[in-house]
């Protein structure tokens, strides 16, 4: 532990102070922290809406809020959680911070574009928040026409503008990552020596760049239709509502892979570190990230099996949807195989990662139910779908986000989080999550439709269980907020490599200096070379 361990050395946080130094920064690490703060605010706002929804669903009758308000609640919960938390969370915070460090670069390829991406994100956020404050939007996060373009009398255009602007923030991040990975790798860092975290973000960036523009144009067309009264999607004026669904889902299904691929990247870093073993089947896991990104663009029609799409098209999309499930299954098997003959320790990141594998497996398997045509006819637009995507999004992406935040917290802040509190929070989140969303599978097959403000009496018991789980989950999410903030001040000083992990980011200081490395590192060995790292040293 040389002198640099203490926090007096110069690093990206204490190199300059003042609002200007943050708001005009071009350092990818500072931009990552700007994103961290903004998406945390959005996360708790979206979570607040979720709590209100669950409280309303305690009773069969609609007696907690008005029907109109409930519709706005689930719409805004969806919009904020998806566009303002899940999509930017891992790429914009951990990706921005770590990709240059992991490939030995001084910064991303286009630092100014990176800052512009954050500003665009904030502008989009302001538009959406104004819509939320001035009455909200009640079309569901899917904006289905003709309801969104003609019949809804809520702030659709303002929210659409917010989402449209935020889309460009994703596009800029995607361009930045692709060019950085292609052009700015350190000498010796070949494609197959890159950490799988970088592979996952490369695959995600493909979706950012090729999918988001189609969402942008479909929102522009809805806006045109609503403002100028032209009939692109409204059948009364000659349009076809299914065209909107095609354009919307062309982006929005790959968008769910935007949310899960970075999470898989985090897991592929955490499991090998705490099992002290190279990842099982590195090449296969790397290529399955790309396969998911590419196949993800061919399957959007499984959202439209009962929407009036032709049966022949349904057959094609069902077959393709099964194909996209294969790479995800391969990844789960490879992570589990990595544990074999390892030397496993159970720190908080590992608990979250193991929880991720379990819950993502359940989420992925229930996806098979929805790809099967006949079962989807029954469970489409019911709580089975809500449970499926929450298992993937909350059980998967948010769990992995917490794993990543805890795993790289010492690198980002130079301090350790309190281990026992973190393990406790992980268990509470795991229990609360399952209690919230497993009953919803049963509710779904029973036929309770989604987005229902009032429901028949026999669904009440399962809904009460789900609400109980939601309150536990809510507490589980608040605990890390408290102790992570506490650790900024009182956390133990973490050295350059508290976990004895491999990877270039663990070879520079914690927190790193502005230019990341004194001199650009030269990479000799394979990724995850855990056999050379002295693992006998008992971890912190």
């Amino acid at each position: 532990m040389n002198a640099r361990e203490s926090l007096e050395h110069q690093h990206y946080l204490n190199v300059s102070y003042g609002v200007k130094s943050w708001l005009l920064t071009r350092d990818h690490k500072r931009i990552a922290l700007l994103y961290l703060i903004s998406i945390t605010l959005f996360f708790f706002l979206g979570g607040f809406f979720a709590v209100l929804i669950r409280l309303e669903l305690l009773t069969p009758a609609g007696d907690f809020v008005q029907a109109e308000t409930y519709n706005k609640l689930f719409t805004m919960h969806g919009l904020i959680m998806i566009f303002f938390f899940l999509i930017p969370s891992i790429p914009a915070v951990l990706g921005n911070f770590l990709i240059p460090l992991m490939i030995g670069a001084r910064d991303l390829a286009f630092p100014r574009l990176n800052l512009l991406s954050w500003y665009i994100f904030i502008v989009g956020g302001i538009f959406t928040l104004t819509a939320v404050v001035t009455g909200g939007v009640d079309t569901g996060w899917t904006f289905y026409t003709p309801y969104s373009s003609t019949y809804s009398n809520s702030a659709v255009v303002l929210t659409a503008l917010g989402v449209f602007v935020t889309g460009f923030s994703s596009i800029l991040t995607g361009i930045n990552f692709i060019v950085t990975v292609h052009k700015m790798r350190a000498p010796g860092m070949t494609w197959f020596r890159m950490p799988l975290f970088v592979w996952a973000h490369y695959a995600t960036s493909i979706i950012f760049v090729l999918g988001t523009p189609v969402l942008a144009i479909s929102i522009v067309l809805v806006g045109l239709e609503r403002v100028f009264g032209i009939g692109i999607f409204d059948p009364k004026l000659g349009g076809d509502p299914l065209l909107f669904q095609h354009l919307f889902w062309f982006y929005s299904h790959p968008a769910v892979y935007i949310m899960i691929l970075p999470a898989m990247g985090v897991i592929s870093e955490v499991i090998p570190c705490f099992a002290r073993k190279k990842i099982f089947g590195y090449n296969v896991v790397a290529f399955s990230s790309l396969a998911i990104a590419i196949l993800g663009f061919l399957v959007w029609g499984h959202h439209m099996f009962v929407s009036g799409q032709s049966e022949f098209e349904g057959l094609i999309f069902s077959a393709l949807s099964f194909m996209v499930a294969i790479p995800s299954a391969i990844k789960v098997f490879n992570w589990t195989a990595t544990l074999y003959k390892g030397s496993i320790s159970f720190h908080a990141p590992m608990l979250y990662a193991l929880g991720f594998i379990g819950l993502f497996t359940v989420g992925g398997l229930t996806g098979l139910f929805l790809a099967t045509l006949a079962v989807d006819v029954h469970v489409h637009d019911t709580y089975f779908i809500i449970a499926h995507f929450h298992y993937i999004m909350v059980g998967g992406a948010v769990m992995a986000y917490f794993a990543g935040i805890h795993f790289w917290w010492p690198k980002i802040t130079g301090r350790m989080y309190p281990e026992t509190w973190a393990r406790l929070a992980a268990l509470i989140v795991f229990v609360g999550f399952n209690l919230t969303f497993f009953p919803q599978f049963i509710l779904g097959y029973l036929g309770m439709p989604r987005r229902y403000y009032a429901y028949p009496d026999e669904f009440q018991v399962l809904n009460v269980l789900s609400t109980a789980g939601a309150s536990i989950l809510g507490i589980g999410y608040l605990i890390p907020l408290v102790y992570l903030l506490w650790s900024l001040r009182y956390g133990r000083v973490a050295g350059t490599n508290p976990w004895h992990a491999t990877g270039l980011e663990w070879r520079t200081d914690s927190p790193p200096s502005t230019e990341n490395f004194e001199e650009t590192p030269v990479v000799q060995e394979e990724a995850y070379a855990y056999d050379e790292v002295p693992e006998e040293v008992s971890l912190v």
Partner: protein, 104 residues
């Protein structure tokens, strides 16, 4: 990499080809091609676009992986168009009897 570049003369040649193709596409519109008009129109447009990409946008002299970046956008557009259009073209394929068989 050797800074190979496209010569000014080549630009003029490509420009003339584009003008000829413009005349061709307008001319083709006046022939009675029936539902082949769209095929002719899009075909000629693809040729013009390829010329512009290869010569004006220096892909011809660019590195191998630059070709991938140039093509991938149009490839994804093809995915959107084909899978999107199959829904509309295959609407009547699966014979769903209307429950009302007309007397012959």
């Amino acid at each position: 990499m050797a800074e190979k570049t496209v010569s000014a003369g080549m630009y003029l040649l490509v420009y003339l080809a584009l003008m000829v193709l413009l005349a061709a596409t307008v001319g083709a519109a006046y022939l009675h091609l029936g539902n082949l008009t769209v095929v002719a129109a899009v075909g000629i447009a693809i040729v013009k676009a390829t010329l512009i990409i290869l010569y004006f946008m220096h892909i011809r002299v660019g590195s191998r992986n630059l070709w991938v970046f140039a093509v991938v956008g149009f490839l994804w557009l093809a995915i959107l168009l084909t899978l999107g259009m199959t829904d509309y073209l295959s609407r009547g394929w699966v014979p769903a009897p209307t429950g009302w068989e007309p007397g012959k």
